[in-house]
Amino acid sequence: MKTDIIISGVGGQGILSIAAVIGEAAVHQNLYMKQAEVHGMSQRGGDVQSNLRISDKPIFSDLIAKGKANLILSLEPMEALRYLPYLALGGWIVTNSTPLINMTDYPDAEALQKALNDLPNIVVFDVDKIAKEVGSTRVSNMVMLGAATPFLGIDYEEIESGIKRIFERKGPDIIALNLKALAAGKKIADASIHI
């Protein structure tokens, strides 16, 4: 197996916590993994991305080549589109629908919606809304991760046990909340795929 994922967002949104869970699950399964992050200046409200690569064979490049990403997972709708040249034919986009506007020339909602609707394989949903329904906006990133699970090439159960390991010290309630968020996200993605 081989899955190339671009996780995108705006500096400060916490895209790295999503990458951490996927990475944990991948390493636990003895898969090879490379995950390139952005630190430094861009983290101050600029566009940020993480290239996450998982494979059962050794991986060379830390960066994904154009047209090779199987999934773009984005915490912000405009940022999902920034990496389109990297998406493989048949690749999927899973993105939050809520814009983060910290710039003067942010595109108007309609134009952005149209650009997103033009894409064949896309899951767009309000992550914070789902997270609130689950119990807390603090688990937004787990909802996001849940929506990505059908495309990861890693069993859902492995992601679940990754979460259990990462949050082990925080106690059973926190684990349960995160698992619930994960399941809620997965449900959204499953519904979109079957349309």
């Binding site: 993994m33 490379k34 390139a36 430094g40 600029g46 080549a65 998406l87």
Partner: protein, 530 residues
Amino acid sequence: MEKMLLLGDEAIAQAALDAGLSGVYAYPGTPSTEITEYIQSSPKSRTDNIHCKWSANEKTAMEAALGMSFAGKRALVCMKHVGVNVAADAFMNAAVTGIVGGLVFVAADDPSMHSSQNEQDSRFFGQFALIPILEPSNQQEAYDMVYEGFELSEHCGVPVMLRITTRLAHSRSGVKQRPEMPQNELHFSENPRQFVLLPANARVQYQKLLTAQKDFLKYSEESIFNTYYEGLDKSRGIVASGIAYNYLMENYPEGCPYPVLKIGQYPLPEKLLHKMALECKELVVLEEGYPLIEDALKGVLGIGLKVRGRKDGFLPRAGEFNPDIVGKAFGFEIPENRPVPEVVKMRPPSLCVGCGHRDMYEALNEAVADKADECKVFSDIGCYTLGYLPPFRSIDTCVDMGASITMAKGAADAGLKYPVAVIGDSTFTHSGMTSLLDALNENSPITVIISDNETTGMTGGQDSSGTGKLEAICLGLGVAPEHLHVLVPLKKNHDEMVRIIRQEMDYSGTSVIIPRRECIQTVGKKNRFK
């Protein structure tokens, strides 16, 4: 043992801990910061009393590391590429004194300038100092090279440079650990002249370093980090160093048809290069950074075997590589499935909402609004450099750590009426104090704003060595008490800030204004831990 999932920077730190490290010395700088942070957060640094506090700048870091090595223990010193310029005096001379305890010097380069003012290549500094250089291609190699680097340093008797680039520093992968070694005992050189670089001693030491070059070359030629991979197609031979090797192999998943010489240790392994030159019709050099290997192979005359690389247009001259750039150079078609839609706009970094630098710039902009070209604002390296961007557009310069104050002074010397310097607290103690002393010794008519957020902000909120001491430092250097002001940069104090900035700009001598409010990121972090 299960592999640890580590950033390149963390792999370096873990290797140093496992190799019997006694102290790390560093000043924060992207992409090197996480090395020291990892050691700081490691339980071993506490149980084994490993030094890991931040240094005031890269030069003090290098000197302290050399002191630890002088005392027989293993030291790690880490910095970003431009930090090597700051450390250069100590670094160059440490190659001449040599070491006692192993000393690994990490230089983290930033090709493409993701978070830097230039993309200088630290390998030149390693070569300049005449010491061995190691250059990993992945996180495991970064670990192994540091682990063995201490050994190599002690064996060669000189510091060893580990050169990395941003992608390796900030990419995570599985790393296998090796057995933990104990720290060295306190012990000293048996040669009392070694560290006293009076000319008579320095000549002896320098000659020793020159004589050792043939050994360093031999180690390189025998190094497992320099590997020759045979290939059937000899129309080309490829020399690939560091992570550039990965981008080549990414394009040849079934194996590269050409012979490949993977370089991970310098001086360049001459015998292996000769072998490739004799076998192949032309050479292609893939290296992140400047064309160091390419120049070495091509020479000035450029006669003989054809060498391709960054200088003949085979690859771009500037910027970091990626799989597409390397693939394109080798004639692969790069898929253009979908362009970036037009609705996507640039999202440059910006000062955080609620940041004190914002209030400082708003006040400064108003204070200088009527001065036009009679006022220029000289700024420095840090979050406040973002004051260049809209909506502020406040600053006219950003060059190197500490340059704000001294450039303002020079412009004052040239006749500029209202030179203003804007510098952060950490940058001020890194390299601004001597600049301020120069200005004060001539009572230059400059207004220095030390925008104090009580942290090293841009790199993620590390301790700032001047916290709580800035007024005392300024007064001690000779700032007149009536021209030293401390303000709280908040909306409600806007008018007062404007008034004081104007007042001090009108004073024809050196004044210092310190707007002080803690970085909202570090405040947020503290609240989360409460």
